[in-house]
Structure formats: C-alpha cells, structure tokens
C-alpha cells in the first residue's frame, strides 16, 4: 500500500501582534505536533502577518491547494474577529477572480477559544466557518470550542491541565485521521474547558485587570472612566 501524502494549512486568526501571546498559537502548536506525527505535511499561516506583509495572494494559493485547513481563532464579540473576516472575504474574492477551484474534497475545521468560561458560546463562530466552507465548496469537518481561554498560556503543562490537554490532542488527532482517510462525513463538535472552578477563574481574571492597570500607573477607580460622556 502506498502512502498518499496530505497537506494541511494551519491558520491562526488571532488579531494579536505578538503570536507568543496568542492562545490560538498554542493550539496551533499542538495541532502541528499531532499532524506531523500522523505524517501530514504542515504549512502555517498567521492572518495578521499575511495581511501586514502583503502576502495574502501566495497564502490564498497555498490554501486553495491544501487537502485541509484548520482555522484557529479567538471569539470576538460572539463571532469572528474583523481581521479574520477580512482574510476570508478576500479569499473568497481571490478564488472567484482567479477562477480557481479549491482542492477536491478539501476539509475545513474550526478551533475557537473564548475568554468567558463557557465553551458553548463559540458555537456561532463555528457555524460561520461552516457557512464559509459551504460557500467556497469545501467540506466542513467539525469544530472545537474552548472556554476559559485566558487560562491556557503558562498552565498547559501543569498537572491539573493534563485531562484538558489530552482532550485537545484527542480532537486534533481525530482531525489528522479524517485528513488522512479523506473521511467525508462531518463529526460532532467538541467542547473543552480547563478543569478549574468557574468562580475562581472569574475572580482571578478580575484581579488581573486591576493589577495590569496598576502596572500602567492607573488606580482601580480609573478603570471605570467614562471618556465619551458629553
């Protein structure tokens, strides 16, 4: 049996300037590990870099030729960030203008994380990627919805995150398998959140805002400013 090589493009749609501060980047790293282990050829695209460095056209061409694309991004006001919408809208235009068709039976997956603890609020963002997939003629695989995004950087290797990390790998391994087998039928979405009390997470986050403001020379009450009152 000959091994057919597959190529996946991992797209990070976080608007953050420094990718090492992006939670999505961490998930993309885990995806890369999973895909490489499965023998899949991996390409990576950072949406902000692609736009600022003016290399969207070559990136779009790469995307159109891939066997699969995974879009990983943060939830912004309950849907996709503006920068990712710009990237996807222009991609659709690119395909139409160049009269290009995407790779046959291309698969698309979505990995969405949010700051609030509840993973299920990412559902609409996953549906947007599904709608996009349908409109460009790709097959949507499934979505991974991650709550408590603010926790992952710096804790991912901590013992209490072991189960969560395993769930992430399990989802990404499932994607790898679907890509290799060119599995056509969609799967159920996954919901993942850190094994951590909700109240404590919110409490810690609130403290974090105050301490960040203090580092910027502000007092707690400054956080409540109302600059636009006439």
């Amino acid at each position: 049996m000959s091994i057919v090589s597959r190529r996946v493009i991992l797209v990070n749609g976080s608007p953050k300037i420094k990718s090492n501060q992006s939670v999505s980047e961490l998930f993309v790293n885990l995806q890369e590990n999973s895909m490489k282990e499965a023998g899949i050829d991996v390409g990576r695209i950072n949406v902000r870099d692609s736009i600022t460095l003016g290399k969207t056209q070559e990136d779009y061409l790469e995307m159109s030729q891939a066997d699969a694309i995974i879009f990983t991004f943060p939830l912004y006001i309950f849907c996709l960030p503006g920068i990712l919408m710009r990237f996807l809208q222009d991609y659709q235009q690119f395909l139409m203008k160049q009269n290009l068709t995407i790779e046959k039976e291309q698969k698309i997956f979505a990995v969405v994380n949010c700051g609030f603890p509840e993973p299920d609020i990412n559902e609409e963002a996953v549906r947007v990627i599904k709608s996009f997939s349908r409109q460009i003629g790709a097959l949507f695989g499934f979505g991974v919805m991650i709550g408590g995004g603010g926790m992952f950087l710096g804790t991912i290797d901590a013992p209490f995150m072991k189960k969560t990390k395993a769930e992430l790998y399990n989802a990404f391994d499932q994607m790898s398998e679907m890509i290799i087998k060119m599995e056509l039928s969609p799967m159920e979405n996954r919901f993942i959140k850190p094994n951590f009390p909700r109240k404590l997470y919110l409490f810690a986050a609130d403290r974090e805002w105050i301490s960040a403001a203090k580092k910027n020379g502000l007092k707690k009450r400054d956080l409540y400013r109302r600059p636009y009152l006439k």
Partner: protein, 186 residues
Amino acid sequence: MKALILIDKEYQTDIYEQLHNTIKDYFEQKKFELDEIKIGKEDLAFCMGCFGCWVKKPGECVIDDTMSQINHKFINSDVVICLSPLVFGQFSANIKNALDRWLPNVLPFFITRPDGSTMHPSRYKSYPRQIVIAYAEDIKDEDAELVVDIVKKHRRSMDVIVYKNSQAKLLESLNNIDMMRVGDEL
C-alpha cells in the same frame, strides 16, 4: 433624538440602496437628527487584542484613528443602526472591525447573568438602542438564522433584522422596536 447609521462602503449594492433609502426616510419622518459613517477597507485599523482599552486608556482604544470618533458618537446617540452586509452568516469585515473596537464601552470585569451566562458589566449607565440590519443579494436560511443567533442569544439589548427585499416587513420590524436609549443591561 439622534440616530447614527453605520455603513459598509464595500457593499454598495442595489439592495443596499433600497435599504438605505428606507431607513433614512423612516428616521427622518420620525424627526431624528441623522448621522452616517461609512466604513471602508482602509478606514479602520484592526483590533490588536491588547486590552489597552481596559487597562491603559480605560474606555478608549489605544489606536489613534476614526474609531474614537465613532465610539463618541455611538455613546451619545439614541439609536444606532448598523447596516451590515451578511457574509457567511455574520457581520462583514468592515462592520466587524468597528464592532470589535467597541470593546472600550464595557468594563473588563466579569458578571454572571440570571441565566448563568457570563458578561462584562456596562461602563455607561445607558446605551443607544442598537439595531443590526443584515442584507445581501441572496440569503440562505441558515445564514439568516445564524446572524439572529449571534445577536440575540448573547445580548439583551440589541435587535437584529434580516432584510430580504421586503420593505413592508422591514417597516413592520422597525415599528416593533422602541426607538430610544436602553439601560445598562448589555
């Protein structure tokens, strides 16, 4: 009474023209003072996800562009109407850029709403009534349902209308909305 209309420069289609005229007439008849902002591809920087609007310059985006003017007008309007192209079931890129950069208008902290969901507390005591009107040449049912879920599932004080060419339906929907400022429940 002041109404602010946000418009995407990129999708100036026939259906947009019809919609825009209807909206303008509607609010002019109601004696609103109208203001319009057209947002194009090069007009607004993308949000950088830095949270500077919460912890550096509370209430204002740290990027110096027309967004501060838009947010100022937003807070001081009675009604804000967002005419958004419906793209993949959500707001178009230009409109979404403005919505992302609306974040300074809430506080960073977390609250738990009566239904158990998380939200940020309001920064201001009251807000304009917000109405999203989504339009496109050809709207799939799934996309229409999706934009309604995006707006209605998570927010208590924002309305959404999907415009499918029917002026009568649009007017009926508008007539069902209280055209005045709302409180601080987001």
